[in-house]
Amino acid sequence: MKSKAPSIPYLIWMLLFTIIPLIMVIYYAFTDKSGNFTIQTFKDSLFYTDVFIRSLWIALVSTLLCLVLAYPLSYVMSRSSRRGQNILTMLIMLPMWMNFILRIYAWVLLLQNDGLIDLAVKFLGLDVPLLGNAGAVILGMVYNYLPFMILPIHAVMLKIDNSLIEASKDLGANKFNVFRKVVFPLSIPGIISGTTMVFVPTASTFLVAQYLGGTGDKMIGDVIENIFQRDKNVGSAISLVLMVIILLFIIVMNKFGDEEVVA
């Protein structure tokens, strides 16, 4: 049996900063301000059902968009030279070296009235507000979380042995069938981890909607931030509900993935 000793520092870290806070959140979620047991907090959080639904919807659309953009790129990347891969990886990571808020604020400047993109759109004869709607929020999400979709899919595709592709050609597969019967099924684990890595933060993030969305585009992350300052019990309850929803999502994704791999 392997020694567990090396993992002890992290286990302590996890106990202090993951498990204890989690217990605290659960405790607050089930108590009122004076510390008595209650489920009123959850009833209160029902008030935000539509924000929940909108957040999940935006997260879902963003995740799908990321997948649609990332998958072909990852495929091309995994087939290109090592040098090309390094350059592409760096370009993909490059925006992440900049501050998160700065990146969002840059989009505000581009999309706002008389911003660079706004001017370009106006020049084309369209006069639609680009900032302050769900579209802008989704754009911001995709921009920020796209690398988290590309990297896991790329990593999985790199691991697909070229001999498997040759074997499928050898057995009579044309390019389309090579993709459909070998590359795609083998890349599913990458799609699952990419989807999880994008969906989870987009569903719970805050600030993006505050900056890029309108008054009606508030997301659950913003709500939690807002409420926590006033009422940490209701804030905890909402957080807990969000956690459960995300947990369910991950379970469903993994189940779907397992079935797909076996089938």
């Binding site: 050898d170 057995l171 019967k181 791999v261």
Partner: protein, 495 residues
């Protein structure tokens, strides 16, 4: 004895005329002048090969000899730079792998990890849009052939190496290819399993009458399984023949060295039927060499008879004895040369023995390197008359030569003995050379090297790895210089 002798002579002559005599004229696969190079390095050098219907042919050679490349060309995974590939008489150069009637068993099997055994085997048939019943019937039949009945639902990861091997064979054979390509398929198996699979593969090939093209670097495997063996080295075919031919009549020292064990020694052909070996005139059956031509003499260890010292053609002292089960293997020093002898009689270490070989078992071969010394031309870049030295250029590298001086611009013909080429101890060579062959000559290794425009002969006590690159340096102490054409000579002198 007499008829045997004549047969050998005929065989030998046939071989000299040039190989293809016994073959039919409709090969299933035919490679014509196929050339492949990567980054300027030649992998296949004008390769010509005919593969017959229903034969088990093995491509054998050290790693880097081009055998796998040949297989990939037939499979369609690689396009030759020039030359044609014919399949049943039709040129298939531009046919992609999925349209070729050829299937491959890959080196590491390349089984689809997301599919189970049944689905792996059915993969090719599904793509051919066969009906479910047909697929089911063919897959089950093939799984029975490779002894994997009852394993249909197993995931690939839960199979042993030998079982994966069988799935890979079944997956390829179920498509009913005319030619099955096998790329070192037994390399990853342990010895026992490997021996079993060799026999099974051979039986399978007999049963199905499919042409098998098998790639291996294991000479024993090649001899055991094949109808014909193609011995390759350095992108060229050294010899094609039945296992018996290749073993008994190796075309040159490389083949003799690669196939089985052999004593390869330097000899001089006195006249037809007589070779001078270790200073003694010895009777042999080979003819057709020039008088006093230096040759390679090849003698198999099991062909050396141990006799009384007085009766031996040669004598030697036993250095080491190892019991090998069926026979004893002895290392014998004779005239400073190390001989390997396999015999059922055991002689103790230190015993003086006589050695005798019947003329039929003495194989005389042309030397792999055309001359005894390295002979090449080089241009003088700078002459330093006052120091009696000069700088010459070999393949764009300037090399200093002490003790000789010719005028700048002179083209010199240089004769450099094999001892003048060496591998520097510090790894900083004057040229980078590719090792074409390494042959042990009883006292030292005779190594043939290749650089951009030259081939070099080197002798070394070190063992080097064939098909790798090493740095080399030159030592012109014993070299001989002569001027190609007139130029002003000053200072330096020739020996």
């Amino acid at each position: 004895m007499k008829s045997n002798y004549e047969l050998r002579i005929t065989n030998y002559k046939l071989k000299k005329i040039g190989g293809h005599n016994e073959l039919s004229n409709n090969p299933v696969v035919s490679l014509k002048d196929v050339e492949v190079s990567f980054d300027g390095e030649v992998i296949l050098d004008k390769l010509n090969l005919d593969i017959e219907h229903e034969e088990f042919i093995t491509l054998l050679g050290p790693s880097g000899c081009g055998k796998t490349t040949t297989l990939r060309i037939i499979g369609g995974f690689l396009q030759p730079d020039s030359g044609e590939i014919y399949f049943d008489g039709e040129c298939i150069n531009n046919l992609p792998p999925n349209k070729r009637n050829v299937n491959t068993v890959f080196q590491k099997y390349a089984l689809f990890p997301h599919l189970n055994v049944y689905e792996n085997v059915a993969f090719g048939l599904k793509l051919k849009k066969k009906s479910k019943e047909e697929i089911d019937k063919a897959v089950m039949k093939m799984l029975a052939v490779v002894d994997l009945k009852g394993y249909e639902k197993r995931p690939i990861a839960k199979l042993s190496g030998g079982q994966q091997q069988r799935v890979a064979i079944a997956r390829a054979l179920v498509c009913d290819p005319k030619v099955l390509l096998l790329d070192e398929p037994l390399g990853a198996l342990d010895l026992k399993l490997r021996k079993d699979m060799q026999i099974e593969l051979k039986q399978l090939q007999h049963q199905l009458k499919t042409t098998f093209v098998f790639v291996t670097h294991d000479q024993e495997e090649a001899l055991t399984m094949s109808d014909r063996v193609v011995v390759m080295n350095n992108g060229k075919i050294e010899q094609i023949g039945t296992p018996t031919d290749i073993y008994n009549e190796p075309a040159n020292a490389f083949v003799a060295d690669f196939i089985g064990e052999a004593n390869i020694l330097n000899g001089i052909m006195k006249e037809d039927g007589t070779v001078i070996l270790q200073g003694k005139e010895i009777e042999c059956i080979d003819t057709g060499f020039k008088p006093y031509q230096p040759v390679d003499v090849v003698i198999r260890p099991e062909d050396v008879e141990i006799v009384d010292v007085k009766e031996g053609m040669l004598t030697g002292t036993v250095q080491d004895v190892v019991f090998k089960g069926v026979h004893y293997e002895m290392e014998v020093i004779s005239d400073d040369c190390l001989w390997l002898i396999q015999s059922t009689t055991c002689k103790d270490t230190g015993t003086e023995i006589g050695m005798r070989v019947i003329p039929e078992n003495i194989h005389i071969m042309n030397k792999l390197f055309p001359t005894e010394d390295n002979i090449f031309t080089a241009k003088v870049v700078v002459g330093h008359a006052e120091e009696n030295s000069m700088e010459i250029e070999i393949e764009e590298t300037v090399i200093k030569v002490e003790g000789h001086c010719y005028a700048e611009g002179t083209t010199l013909e240089i004769t450099l003995p094999p001892s003048g080429v060496y591998v520097p101890g510090d790894g900083n060579g004057q040229l980078e050379a590719y090792i074409e062959s390494v042959i042990y000559k009883g006292k030292y290794n005779e190594i043939i090297l290749e650089t951009e425009n030259h081939r070099w002969l080197m002798t070394s006590l070190q063992d080097e790895q064939v098909a790798t690159s090493i740095p080399i340096c030159f030592n012109f102490e014993n070299a001989h210089f002569s001027e190609d054409y007139k130029g002003g000579e000053y200072g330096g002198d020739e020996e």
